[in-house]
Point group: C2
Chain length 330, copies 2
């Protein structure tokens, strides 16, 4: 008999499920297309069915009983305090989604739900580069910009359960319109879409000659392409990442003035561009820090494998989150 | 026999000392002029002498032995982790000031030192409007702008011990020069000096006709005067506070995106102007909040008497800070 946590990473396109052993290995995994469902109940029924199928496969291949210890779920707009997702813009199900209740109709297992960025922070703490650190922040860059904040060994949830939305601090007053309806949010600058927008703005105003992406129409420019071009030395693409670094560095320095973490981790697609972002980011960050914080906080990419991080983070919610509460100390 | 904590509020001009009973009454108090001293040792010797004199007076008037439980000290640039003040710009003593060690030469009493804004947050929690609240922030407006942040019932100190410098988040990129050498900090807009600067900027560009402070030369305009004029309906002064409210409201909304507190408290001179600040501040704050935080966090002036708040805050460091650590939960 061996114990496994079910790690569920709910994305707008796919929902990834993995069974994770107590050492942090994803021993089997599967996926269902989130977009295929228009209502919540059949989605959960299939999620549970997939989980039981994975469990059965595992038992067959290992010739040993597998005990599931609970569901850890990372989801956009998830609220840890209520255990619900409410009106997530990127999920097809509207209204209040009570995962605990809905999964409970099928299986009697603990369900721990948290924001996907908080799950990423758990994962980093339990299995990644934040092991043993008591003050750190994980920024997740992707379609949006999220953050999971750990203060004194504990995830910050706040009175609403929705703390840690550093993608929506106002970075540039009256700046770019953000998807949230407000203006100047970090997300409008440092998300994949924001980065593409920066590139297009630069291209329109450029006097630097051709970019290697010149033949691509605006609508075909992706953040990935801007990253690839930068790694090949394209000046316009490099400038795009330098500007992103300046904005992100300023936002991170502001976050340090709040909680004075010892480390900041970056996850998500845009963070994997490497040097074109990380080198100017570290410089911008240090230059924006108040004197008392200089050289006290490192910036690193997440040390978790990119395909596994979200599932591991979700699983860690259960393995280390139930029982003694969500205190990461013990 | 009755127990008292020594609350010490160290300001650039005066150092106020009060003996505080376990119910939060300042039963006697005194003061020494900080500016009179150029070196640390005689300053501490006089601070200790004043404390013992207050104790003696108290014992004589109450005809009962007074037991001092410890020194709680709130000071600018104080570091809770190290117990030291280092190179405080507004104190006459330079270098590393080790209060514990220096007081220890005279008295064997516990010494708990923290940033003055953190002391204000403790005071608000133990004796003021934050009683029973687990997530709140205190902003101190004065010569500078400070903050004490409580997350999940605990003051946030961070890895450096210097967390919670929300006066030095970059609010306006490339904005006003701040005393810290950086640009666009909240402090450059919402400190007493920043507010005067806003008034003077408005006066120079004004087409609204005379302000009731028109006869005062620039150098004689104080924050207090701008507050008095606003309360009398002066349009330029009211506009000054409305702009201050807009900046402060934006900074507070950003802080909410970090820790999602249930309450924000304001202390310090500028916060006592009342409606000219508080009414537009509440509006600006709500308008800048991300949707999920709307109507979840109140803004109030500190409920502690303005003359007592700093000493009570300092005393509360000892009364509730020693022994079980600085956990405010228990």
């Amino acid at each position: 008999m061996k114990k496994y946590a079910v790690g569920v990473d709910i994305g707008g396109t796919n929902t990834d499920v993995g069974l994770v052993d107590t050492e942090g290995n994803i021993v089997c995994r599967g996926s269902i297309p989130t977009t295929r469902y228009t209502t919540f109940e059949p989605y959960i029924a299939d999620l549970v069915a997939l989980t039981l199928q994975l469990k059965a496969e595992l038992e067959q291949s290992h010739q040993e009983e597998a005990v599931l210890t609970g569901f850890g779920i990372g989801a956009p707009n998830a609220n840890f305090n209520t255990g619900c997702v409410v009106d997530a813009p990127n999920l097809p199900f509207k209204g209040v989604l009570d995962f605990n209740k809905e999964i409970g109709k099928h299986l009697a297992l603990p369900v721990v739900l948290d924001n996907d960025a908080n799950a990423a922070a758990y994962g980093e703490y339990i299995y990644g580069g934040a092991k043993g650190k008591r003050h750190f922040i994980v920024f997740t860059l992707g379609t949006g910009v999220g953050s999971g904040i750990v203060v004194d060994g504990r995830i910050v949830h706040g009175i609403t359960g929705a703390a840690g939305e550093l993608g929506h601090v106002t970075l540039i007053p009256k700046g770019r319109t953000c998807g949230c309806g407000r203006r100047g949010c970090l997300e409008a600058y440092a998300s994949a879409r924001g980065i593409v927008r920066t590139y297009l703005d630069l291209r329109r105003g450029s006097t630097q000659g051709e970019s290697m992406l010149a033949s691509l129409p605006d609508g075909d420019i992706s953040c990935q392409a801007v990253g690839d071009a930068a790694r090949l030395g394209d000046p316009l693409a490099l400038q795009t990442w330098a500007m992103t670094a300046e904005w992100l560095g300023m936002a991170m320095a502001n976050a340090v003035a709040f909680s004075s973490p010892e480390a900041i981790f970056l996850t998500g697609g845009p963070s994997r561009v490497g040097d074109p972002l990380m080198a100017p980011l570290r410089r911008a960050f240090e230059s924006h820090l108040l004197f008392c914080y200089r050289s006290t906080c490192t910036i690193s990419p997440s040390s978790l494998p990119s395909g596994d991080a979200a599932v591991l983070g979700a699983a860690s919610l259960v393995q280390h989150g139930s029982g003694g509460g969500l205190n990461l100390r013990d």
